[in-house]
């Protein structure tokens, strides 16, 4: 299968602290790929580098065929329309209602009529499991779980090929978290998305991920599926996955 994202020898340095020292990984089309690792290992940093929010200091990242470190402005803008990003707390625009948040990319990037946009927004709201009557609420008026769903709806507004999720289930109660997992699986099969997520939630990791990369000690400690992961000799993997499989 075709590689959607290729990370080659990526280095990241914050001040005098090396965060990544030569990361290599590849993400294939249509898979749900997890970035895992102990806290502070730079999972979210790598995710931010993939969506051009942060510069890296060596190596290369290729997203949908474009090299991120020498991409032109127009190409970058085009690329940005092909992905959706869900931030940890939703990051909805606080001055706009949920409906307006979802409609914004459509208004900015397309010349669809107001009616058509309204229809699409309605569809996306149903798709992520929000109630239509919540559409006019503002981000400050809704719960954390709803914010995540609304953020997901906004990320899906332009029908992206790639979906980046930063800790999608953190801060949710176990029931909502499982609902969110099944929503992600459903969306993948319905829309054929490639999903990259950073997660700490073991249940979610086991239920949703196809493949995963474990970042530990500035390097990739493991890349592959979860079945063989227990045989890897790494302190983080043993404590994180060892206990789970014994249950």
């Amino acid at each position: 299968m075709q590689n959607v994202i290729e990370v080659n020898g990526v280095k990241t340095i914050f001040g005098n602290r090396i965060v990544h020292d030569g990361l290599n990984l590849s993400i294939k089309k249509g898979e749900i790929y997890g970035l895992l690792g102990p806290s502070g290992c730079g999972k979210t940093t790598l995710l931010r580098e993939m969506v051009m929010l942060q510069k890296f200091h060596g190596g290369s990242i290729k997203v949908l065929g474009d090299e991120l470190d020498r991409i032109s402005h127009t190409q970058a803008q085009k690329l940005r329309r092909q992905w959706g990003v869900l931030f940890q707390a939703g990051a909805l625009f606080s001055s706009l209602s949920i409906r307006e948040n979802i409609a914004l990319p459509l208004q900015e990037y397309t010349d669809l009529s107001a009616n058509m946009i309204e229809e699409i927004v309605k569809f996306k709201i149903h798709l992520v499991g929000l109630k239509p009557q919540d559409a006019h609420l503002f981000p400050s008026q809704i719960s954390g779980g709803m914010k995540k769903k609304a953020g997901l709806a906004r990320a899906l507004a332009m029908d992206p090929k790639l979906l980046f999720l930063d800790e999608p289930t953190s801060g949710l109660d176990p029931i909502s978290a499982r609902d969110f997992d099944s929503l992600i699986l459903e969306l993948r099969s319905m829309l054929g998305l490639t999903i990259i997520m950073v997660s700490h939630d073991l249940q979610s990791i086991h239920d949703t991920l196809d493949r995963t990369a474990i970042i530990d000690n500035k390097k990739i400690a493991y890349e592959g599926n979860l079945k063989n992961i227990k045989s890897v000799e790494n302190e983080f993997i043993q404590t994180f996955f060892g206990k789970y499989n014994e249950q």
Binding site: R80, W83, Q88, F93, L104, Y109, G151
Partner: protein
């Protein structure tokens, strides 16, 4: 109360510490002072009796362990007597954790020279980053002005309403009062010389040329500059700016430029309002205090105050507006991921923009005077 919980008795060379009841961290200091009073001279054995203790918290366990260590150091044979398992395990807790945990490292204090160096360097970096901001602003502006379609009228109109129309009242009131005060103070001096009519010259020139633009700029810096910093800073903390970037919406186009343009449009209008209100304030004092009628005032105003003073005042508007808006927004973008830095940057934004406005005004003043305007 603590005295009831600890009974001490010394028999020959044996010290007996008898604890009772619920031992929590509130009693530690009482116990400490009680035990300190006992002279340890000649004491060979100590018995710490915890048999009547019903509850022991970890702080008390740390205290008892320290006490134990203290006696050990003095070569006193110490025994802890306890029967309750829970209490025994609590007593053992500190020992378990102190064994392989080293002390929390002390923060290293750096020397004054190092501090000065770091301070200077951080300010130097601040200057560089402000230059970077201006550069990016300029680049975005060029990109933005390529097509009329790019101009975000809605955002500009919103900001004009927010920082212009809504500020009219406070600016009108402030400049009216300043006109009143300036006229009142000078009226007193002018009366001494019988030079009553010169109030018009004085007020006209000072108000139109300097005071109205400065007052407007200071009110706007406090009102809109701080608002820009807080709004954009909060958006940064909630990752809204990042969300915009990943969606391909450049924050410079969506947030920065509309605010700067709106303020630059609205500032001359506000200065005009301030001019009028200041003069009206002066006129009231002239009328009441100096017996100069409105007609006479306006006639004299027409004669002696040249239009150039008015235009010089207005011209300063967009420059002040640019400084206030760009510093306010720059400070907003500098907010880090904690709530404290919003307050810090808002304060900085207001102070820096007022300072910048005054420096800018001084430069204008010298330039215009030298140009003979």
């Amino acid at each position: 109360m603590a005295i009831n919980l600890l009974r001490t008795s010394v028999k020959a060379n044996h010290l007996y510490l008898d604890f009772t009841g619920e031992l929590s961290l509130y009693f530690i200091s009482d116990f400490e002072s009680l035990i300190e009073k006992i002279s340890l001279n000649g004491i060979k054995t100590v018995e710490i009796d915890l048999q009547k203790v019903t509850y022991l918290d970890t702080a008390m366990a740390v205290f008892l362990n320290k006490l134990y260590e203290k006696f050990e150091k003095l070569n006193v044979e110490t025994t802890i007597v306890a029967t309750n398992d829970e209490i025994l395990s609590t007593i053992d807790l500190p020992k378990k954790f102190f064994k392989h945990k080293e002390d929390i490292p002390q923060k290293t204090e750096c020397s004054t020279i190092q501090k000065i160096g770091e301070y200077t360097y951080s300010h130097y970096l601040g200057l560089i980053s402000f230059m970077e901001f201006l550069g990016k602003l300029f680049a975005t502006k060029l990109h933005y002005l390529k097509s009329v379609k790019n101009i975000r009228y809605k955002e500009i109109a919103f900001e004009i309403n927010e920082s212009g129309v809504n500020a009219l009242g406070i600016i009108a009131l402030t400049s009216f009062l300043i006109g009143l005060v300036v006229a009142y103070q000078s009226a007193f001096q002018l009366k001494l010389y019988g030079a009553n009519i010169f109030i018009v010259d004085m007020l006209g020139i000072s108000m139109l040329r300097e005071l109205a633009p400065l007052i407007t700029a200071i009110v706007i810096a406090g009102r809109s500059g701080s608002a820009f910093t807080a709004q954009i800073g909060a958006m940064k903390i909630t990752e809204e700016l990042d969300a915009m970037r990943t969606m391909g919406f450049d924050p410079y186009i969506f947030l920065v430029i509309p605010r700067i343009i709106a303020l630059m449009i609205v500032m001359p209008i506000l200065i005009f309002v301030a001019d009028m209100m200041g003069i009206i304030g002066g006129m009231v004092v002239a009328n009441v205090d100096l017996k100069i009628t409105t007609d006479l005032f306006l006639e004299r105003f027409n004669e002696v105050v040249a239009a150039k003073h008015f235009f010089i005042g207005l011209i300063k508007g967009p420059f002040f507006a640019f400084l206030i808006a760009s510093i306010g927004i720059y400070r907003g973008l500098m907010v880090k991921d904690d709530t404290q830095s919003i307050g810090f940057n808002t304060t900085k934004s207001v102070v820096e923009s007022i300072f910048a406005v005054i420096v800018c005004d001084a430069i204008f003043s010298i330039a215009f005077t030298n140009l003979g305007i």
